[in-house]
């Protein structure tokens, strides 16, 4: 596993861009690689910390069991919502052919 001190490679950045669905051209990949590398290098400071036995903090305030009753609430107006969509047809949201996607 890479530690947070090591720089990010252009290949890493390209892979991340693919995962994040951002079409970034090669020139930008280099630019991002340099900038992210600097940022990640700065973040190497936490490598020095001994974090054994520390419980990760995922919530700032410790609430538990927040639930709602199984009761219907108002729904949105289909026409209003579809009017805001980039493309719609037959009361549905239209998208280009789905190819080359995991699923």
């Amino acid at each position: 596993m890479t530690t947070s001190g090591s720089p990010i490679s252009a290949a890493d950045v390209a892979k991340v861009a693919r995962l994040a669905r951002l079409d970034i051209d090669n020139a930008h990949i280099e630019h991002f690689t340099e900038q992210l590398g600097k940022v990640m290098a700065h973040f190497a400071d936490i490598d020095a910390l001994n974090l054994d036995g520390v419980t990760p903090m995922t919530q700032p305030y410790p609430l538990v069991n927040v639930m709602r009753d199984d009761v219907e609430m108002p729904t949105l107006d289909t026409d209003e919502v579809l009017a805001a969509a980039p493309a719609a047809e037959e009361r549905r949201f239209r998208v280009p052919p789905i190819i080359g996607i995991e699923g």
């Binding site: 947070s4 669905r21 992210l36 936490i46 995922t58 305030y61 209003e80 280009p96 190819i99």
Partner: protein, 479 residues
């Protein structure tokens, strides 16, 4: 028309007493906007017609003797990342340009019920990512105190709107300092309540475990008034705290006699000397007002920036995945859905947003989770523990809000690290989930305002407002 009061509480009182009309108040503020907005660019959208209509309706209610809310007729500006039904909500991003939400954020509903009048949607760093409001897709906001300089960010538009007198109060959102830092740079009061004190429902998420809505105001009492109005449990937000809201307005006037104020002896360095001088003056003023100054240590604070810039982008990378060109917002056409995603998101998001999405995606990706995100969550715990230990000894902690006063455009925008360092004093509180506020306390370099930050433990808004009120009184007395 009698003269228009400057604070929200005075405006509400004068309207309720029929000394002025809501319409007069709105017209006066719209006139100010007309006069200076082209220089400042505080707003993405000024809602002049809606505001006038709302004011007329309130005036009609008052004339007819119907009950009106406690903020009836008070103009308020909203950061443009809070959903307003039927009114564009853009997050200053091309990807959401023109999007009209089909629902209102809970804070918007609460403000409307209280009678406040929304005058417009204010500019921000795209998706609240930034510290200068230079990252807006629709152009930067200028600091009303010096239009060569940034207003801070990301809620720069909301800070500038209050500083310029476009509205007596406004709402911003604070993920790593985005209310407090621009408040400091624009010379106004800014409050980030306890995480969970104010509903996030309808706030377009940047980093869900850090985001919190809060007010800007010209006085601590007004900030307390608006915090009270928007605080409280919301069934639409699972992280909203089911706790009663005490009177913050009262707290703001109670003084600090007998309070213990923490001075952090191991505060990360980097503040301008004038800023440090104002902090020392603040301690002196509070001591003079009857508080005791107590030294505390926060040894993990220096790691806060790292933890923040792993956690916030990680959450953001997931939160911003829904901007995919399918259901709303921008779509760039392409032959297949996957290509459409990539083209839409590359065209719709600005550089800083893309940078943080990439950073966050990387921090969460296979093989790196433990090294980055997992570690950051542990550091977050250490920081919260540090604070909680300190709050066993003190009621509040005082630090500078920003290490620097408002800087010039372009100074930091191409150097992400130096921009990130602007939030070094504000970020730790977001990580802990605690409240914090910035109170103007004199001036620093170039005669620009300096903000002092008051930090308090979770749900510690009462002691926070007490100290904020005392600082305001001392600052006023000193000038």
């Amino acid at each position: 028309m009698s003269s228009i009061p400057t604070t929200a509480s005075e405006i509400a009182a004068a309207i309720a007493a029929k000394e002025i009309t809501a319409r007069e108040v709105i017209d006066a503020h719209l006139a100010r906007i007309n006069a200076r907005e082209s220089d400042i660019h505080a707003f993405n959208k000024v809602m002049a017609d809606e505001a006038r209509a709302h004011a007329d309706a309130i005036d009609a209610d008052i004339a007819a003797g119907r009950p009106v809310g406690p903020l009836a007729g008070v103009p308020i500006a909203l950061k443009d990342n809070m959903c307003t039904r039927g009114v564009e909500t853009t997050c200053s991003s091309k990807i959401l340009e023109g999007w009209k939400p089909p629902y209102d954020a809970t804070v918007v509903t609460k403000l409307r019920e209280a009678g406040a009048i929304v005058v417009g949607k204010t500019n921000l760093d795209e998706f609240a990512m930034g510290s200068s409001t230079e990252n807006s897709a629709f152009g930067p906001t200028r600091n009303p105190l010096d239009i060569e300089r940034v207003p801070g960010g990301s809620s720069g538009g909301s800070a500038a709107a209050v500083a310029a007198g476009f509205a007596p109060v406004s709402l911003g959102s604070d993920t790593g300092g985005s209310i407090r830092q621009p408040a400091a740079m624009c010379g106004v009061v800014g409050v980030k309540p306890t995480y969970g004190r104010v509903s996030r429902y309808g706030l377009v998420a940047y980093a869900s475990s850090l985001d919190q809505i809060g007010p800007f105001a010209t006085t601590v009492a007004d900030a307390a008034l608006i915090t009270e109005a928007i605080a409280g449990h919301d069934v639409h937000d699972s992280t909203s705290i089911p706790q009663d809201v005490p009177s913050f307005v009262e707290a703001a006037g109670q003084g600090v006699k007998g309070m213990r104020i923490g001075r952090v002896t191991d505060l990360p360095e980097g503040a301008e000397p004038e800023v440090t001088a104002r902090l020392n003056a603040a301690f002196a003023a509070l001591e003079a007002a009857g508080a005791e100054i107590v030294d505390v240590q926060l040894p993990s604070l220096s790691y806060a920036l790292t933890a923040y810039y792993l956690i916030a982008p990680a959450e953001a990378s997931s939160n911003l995945a829904r901007f995919d060109g399918v259901r709303f917002g921008l779509r760039v056409n392409a032959p297949d859905t996957n290509a459409m995603y990539g083209a839409t998101r590359a065209a719709g998001f600005g550089d800083e947003v893309q940078r943080r999405i990439m950073l966050g995606t990387y921090a969460l990706s296979a093989g790196y989770y433990d090294a980055y995100y997992g570690k950051a969550l542990k550091v977050r715990r250490l920081i919260a523990d540090d604070f909680n230990r300190a709050y066993e000894k003190v009621d509040v902690i005082l630090t500078p809000t920003s290490p620097v006063v408002a800087f010039k455009f372009g100074e930091k925008v191409d150097d992400p690290m130096s921009m990130y360092l602007c939030d070094i004093y504000t970020i730790p509180t977001n990580l802990a989930g605690h409240p914090g506020m910035s109170v103007p306390f004199g001036t620093g370099a170039h005669g620009l305002p300096v903000g002092i930050q008051v930090l308090a433990p979770a749900l510690g808004e009462v002691p926070m407002f007490r100290v904020g009120g005392a600082l305001e009184a001392a600052a006023g007395g000193a000038q």
